[in-house]
């Protein structure tokens, strides 16, 4: 027994060491981002290029997902509301659910999968093929060019994508409501805007900024610190998605508590 515990102790302590070293590394990475983001030279061109890649290239997937979420959620909610004869509340219910939670969450999770993994894999492969070193020896700051530009792009683009997802989901919901309850477009959107408040939209946008920052910084951190060749690149892409998704749910929970506190205040 004593032998067993001796054997296990170093492994456990190594894992604890690794966890805390990883946390410290990640913290330093975030600190470096905030330091570099305000220092010249500014990579405007690269930020715009990344915004285009992240925003425009995600549109087809986001559009399809948002539209389907709107239709499915409306369809699934109808039976419960019709039990109370309250199907006329569908637009209100859907708008609150989409704007407050589903729009930001669905967009962020899709972006974590699509954008986060691509950032992790791209920077990871640049790292293992010495492209980052090549950038550094040509007197370019690779952190600024690769990391700052991508994190800014995800931070700016995710809120825009969230607003777009909200809109597409509401259109999907409208088509469903229209075909079943014969509600007109103006009535539907009147009810939608009646139900959501300014705080709902602002909290959704602020939450999306946080999600965007998380997706960008986690993808970049994982890629920038990848090693062990192609295996490391795959691992970087995978863990970028898993950690981003995990953090997005935690952030959602925290923001929800804060917004609820503001609402009651």
């Amino acid at each position: 027994m004593a032998e067993e515990s001796d054997d296990r102790k170093p492994v456990l302590s190594k894992k604890i060491d690794k966890f805390f070293t990883g946390l410290a590394d990640a913290w330093n990475f975030v600190r470096r981002f905030w330091k570099e983001v305000f220092l010249p030279p500014y990579e405007f061109k690269e930020v715009i290029h990344q915004c285009y890649r992240i925003g425009v290239e995600s549109l087809p997937l986001i559009s399809l997902t948002g539209f389907i979420v709107g239709i499915v959620f409306t369809n699934q909610s109808r039976p419960s509301l019709s039990e109370f004869g309250a199907t006329s509340w569908l637009p209100s219910l859907i708008s609150i659910a989409v704007v407050r939670a589903m729009g930001p969450l669905v967009t962020a999770l899709i972006a974590a999968g699509k954008v986060g993994s691509s950032i992790g894999a791209e920077i990871g492969s640049m790292k293992v093929t010495e492209q980052i070193d090549a950038m550094e020896v040509s007197a370019t700051n690779p952190f600024k060019f690769l990391v700052v530009s991508r994190v800014l792009a995800t931070t700016f683009m995710i809120p825009i994508l969230v607003l777009y997802t909200d809109f597409v989901a509401l259109i999907g919901s409208f088509l469903n409501v229209n075909s079943n309850e014969l509600v007109s477009l103006s009535t539907f959107f009147f009810q939608v805007f009646e139900s959501i408040s300014f705080l709902d939209i602002w909290s959704s946008v602020l939450k999306s900024l946080l999600f965007g920052f998380t997706i960008g910084i986690v993808g970049c951190y994982k890629g920038y610190n990848s090693s062990k060749g192609t295996e490391g690149v795959g691992r970087a892409a995978n863990s970028a998605v898993v950690i981003s998704m995990f953090l997005i749910f935690i952030e959602e929970l925290l923001v929800l508590q804060i917004v609820n506190a503001i609402r009651t205040f």
């Binding site: 640049m126 010495e130 492209q131 020896v137 370019t140």
Partner: protein, 250 residues
């Protein structure tokens, strides 16, 4: 006596318990081609990475163009880096950029006020020099290993460096392409008057490109001299075996 371009004194570098460089001393003179030979993992690449500030030594001196690299602030280090061209083992071309964009990247970031015409002229001139003008709009994934190496060299030459560092320039290439790359290294020296360090374990490459050889064994240079001085009659068994493996017929 020729001017010293690089001066290394008593340089040490370890990675954890692995002691890679153990008191390395070396001088590099202007316009010479120095070849550093050694088995894999002996610290050859580490040495040139310290030279450009990608790694830091644990102790000792690394003076490049009269400046101690480890003590330079970022701005001065970047100024020094512009005078050093680093050709990476895997070429390290930016995957997402065309050959033209790869070559423009260091140019437009470091030399301001260049017109489009000047940029194009410079890029086309260098692609001509490495014999690959037709690849200008190709992506790195469309190039062969030898072409990538040549473009990598052209990209480092775009800033007119004084020193060229070649990390395993012939690794993974067929013998004919190896000879082409060796000739290119010599042409670069003649045409652009560069001082070069070539890291390799390919003795044919060493013989073709080097004025002097330095053999790195157990963290130190065991022999430094011309090819004839170092190899055919080496007394050190480790150097001799290195030679025998490369030229079995001798």
């Amino acid at each position: 006596m020729a001017e010293k371009v690089v001066e290394i004194k008593n340089l040490y570098k370890s990675f954890g318990d692995l002691h890679v460089l153990k008191g390395v001393d070396l001088d590099l003179f202007r316009e010479e081609n120095l070849v550093i030979l050694g088995r894999s993992g002996t610290g050859k690449s580490v040495l040139i990475k310290i030279m450009v500030g990608l790694l830091k030594q644990d102790r000792g001196q690394m003076q490049v163009l009269g400046k101690e690299v480890s003590k330079l602030p970022t701005r001065e280090l970047n100024e020094l880096r512009l005078k050093i061209g680093f050709s990476f083992q895997n070429s390290a071309l930016y995957d997402s950029m065309t050959v033209r964009e790869n070559m423009e990247f260091p140019l437009v970031r470091n030399i301001k006020n260049l017109t489009r015409k000047e940029i194009n002229h410079r890029i086309e001139d260098l692609l001509d020099a490495v014999g690959l003008p037709q690849t200008i709009n190709q992506m790195p994934s469309e190039l062969s290993g030898g072409q990538k190496k040549r473009i990598g060299v052209a990209r480092t030459l775009v800033l007119n460096p004084e020193i060229m560092l070649y990390d395993e320039p012939t690794a993974g290439l067929d013998p004919i392409t190896c000879v082409d790359i060796n000739n290119l290294i010599n042409e670069v020296r003649e045409r652009y008057k560069t001082t070069s360090i070539v890291i390799t374990h390919d003795l044919t490459c060493a013989k073709m490109t080097g004025d002097r050889m330095a053999v790195l064994l157990d963290g130190q240079f065991s022999s430094i001299g011309t090819f004839e001085e170092v190899f055919p009659h080496a007394e050190d068994q480790r150097v001799k075996s290195f030679y025998d493996y490369n030229f079995i017929e001798s």
